[in-house]
Amino acid sequence: MSLENIRKKIDALDHDILKLLNERAELGLRTKRHKTAITDDKREIEILDRAKRIAGAYNLLEPDFVEKTFKTIIEETRRIQGSPRTLIGFQGDHGAFGEEAVRRHDIQLVPIPCREFTDVFDGVESGDLDLGIVPVENSLGGAIAEVNELLIRKDLKVTAAIRLKINHCLLVSPDANYQEIRIVYSHPQALSQCRAFLGRHHLEARPFYDTAGAAEMLAREKPKMAAAIASRLCAELYNLEVIKENIQDHQENFTRFLVLSKTDRKDAPEKCSIVFSTPHKAGALFAILQIFAEAKINLTRIESLPDRTDPGNYVFFLDFQINDARANLDAILESVGQKTKMFKYLGCYREELFA
């Protein structure tokens, strides 16, 4: 092995060590939900003994060093546990666009990766997570059906909305040659948003469950002739090289995310979201819209999705602006509730734009 190659391996290992330390700290934060005191001497001794035993089997590191290192790690975990932190779940691995939205929205929040959208909802409902963030629609791809359905089924409130410009990057592992790329892994939405780019370079699109997950897999498995489409943040997180930024076919590529909480937040909101279904008769939807028209309220989104609990029928998602109409908001919601078959108030919130 040449010196250059050895150094490359060391850099990659350092990357992994930091990734694991971060993951360990995240888990530390989550244990807080299950215990009252931060210090647990018995557990600490267990951890140190175990670390020394494993290091002893490798027979290179001094037990002293191992103990010192793990004590430092435990100390840092305690420090993190000691300050009040708000955990927010997002779908995907670290570096997913949901996490980028969280960082732009509030840097103090701690983003926690979740495998599925339903895990985000469940985590918030059970109190394992304080908040959740989910994408509801994309300017090119349209509504994200699974999330919209969960919004109806679960009992969470929307406390903020974020419109985030999506900047897709083509990423490869640092020792890969861009000339040899043939296959590109990413979430189907991302692949479809970069279709013209993939066509120009004769690249084959391979769907993956998540954009950041594809980047993580690329770094871990180093598949031959492969690249991933993911955020710029993923390049840093997974030690990948950016071949090209902004590869989406349309620059007007925005995803709208909702922040979810168990409790409603009503301080100075700008927007309100509701979901409802109407009885199957002439003018039913019109009657609802009339309420808003008469109150001179501007609707910002109206979308219909099939009602899975009642096939053949539809539910309507409605977002509207709250301005001077705020005073009679309760009255409006009540009259909408009376004219609908199913009615659910999703929340009042502010919406931010990050271009």
């Binding site: 861009y178 000339q179 120009r200 370079h201 004769h202 071949i243 090209k244």
Partner: protein, 281 residues
């Protein structure tokens, strides 16, 4: 030249190749910049200097065809990203040489004009590949190619469907050894007689001597060329390639001034009432 089915002038309108706000064949286009992209700092500094000095476009090699395999081969993809940054900071469009057919689609993501260099003039696979794009191609004349061979290479690109070709005379090999090559300015006038494509001149490689660049540039203006491509380096003595033939930014600015004066004179010359009945602009 009977086999130039597409490239021949034969009553066709002279083409204007648009690159951003510039039009080759309409404006006199001055392209300047380093031989090689060496670092972000070097490239951005030179880009700013040549813009200040009156350049319309930036040149810079990311892939370098060097005589020896042990010489600096260019920064590759990293170089392209630096050129993109330089464009972002100065607004100058970019021309850069493509060496490998596998790089053509990637180069198109970064540069405004693809250059096919003198050594690759008759690399027919490369000509076909750039011909499949719509990106303007700067086609340099090979150092041992006849005018006919050169124009047939333009024919290759046209035949693939890309009409955006800019020809570039850069000197040919003769028995003369004092200069690096012999700049063949008669080829400029000849090519303009034979084809409808714009023709520019590279006096840097054509002479290989700093002192000859300015006089040959002016001669190029006088013989009807549509533009120039010159190498400029902020520290020529430290350049990683072609150090003996790069102008400094002040020398370039001085040349640029002379070119503007001569252009004005040439325009006045062609606008004499006896020459045509067009109204004076």
């Amino acid at each position: 030249m009977d086999n130039l089915k597409l490239a021949a002038l034969k009553g066709k309108k002279r083409s204007v190749i648009r690159v951003g706000e510039i039009g080759f064949g309409e404006d006199f286009v001055v392209i300047a910049g380093p031989c090689s992209v060496e670092s972000e700092r070097q490239t951005v500094e030179i880009a700013q200097a040549v813009k200040q000095g009156g350049a319309d476009m930036l040149r810079g090699g990311a892939f370098k065809p060097r005589t020896s395999p042990y010489n600096f081969q260019g920064l590759g993809l990293k170089g392209l990203k630096i050129l993109e940054k330089a464009r972002e900071m100065t607004g100058l469009p970019i021309v850069s040489e493509v060496l490998d057919t596998r790089d053509v689609s990637w180069m198109c993501e970064y540069v405004d004009v693809l250059q096919v260099g003198a050594r690759n003039m008759q690399n027919f696979s490369l000509l076909k590949e750039v011909g499949k794009t719509t990106r303007p191609v700067l086609l340099k004349r090979g150092m041992h190619s006849t005018i006919s061979e050169w124009l047939n290479c333009a024919e290759y690109i046209l035949n693939e469907g890309n009409p955006n070709i800019i020809l570039c005379e850069r000197g040919i090999r003769t028995f003369e050894t004092y200069t690096r090559n012999t700049l063949d300015l008669s080829a400029v006038a000849a090519a303009k007689e034979l084809t409808f494509l714009p023709v520019i001149v590279d006096p840097t490689h054509g002479t290989g001597k700093v002192s000859l660049i300015s006089p040959m540039s002016l001669a190029a203006v006088a013989c009807g060329a549509d533009g120039l491509i010159v190498e400029v380096h902020n520290h020529p003595e430290a350049a990683l390639s072609d150090k003996e033939q790069a102008l400094t930014p002040p020398e370039f600015e001085e040349l640029s001034r002379k070119i503007r004066s001569l252009r004005a004179f040439m325009e006045a010359l062609s606008e004499r009432p006896s020459h045509g009945k067009e109204e004076k602009r």
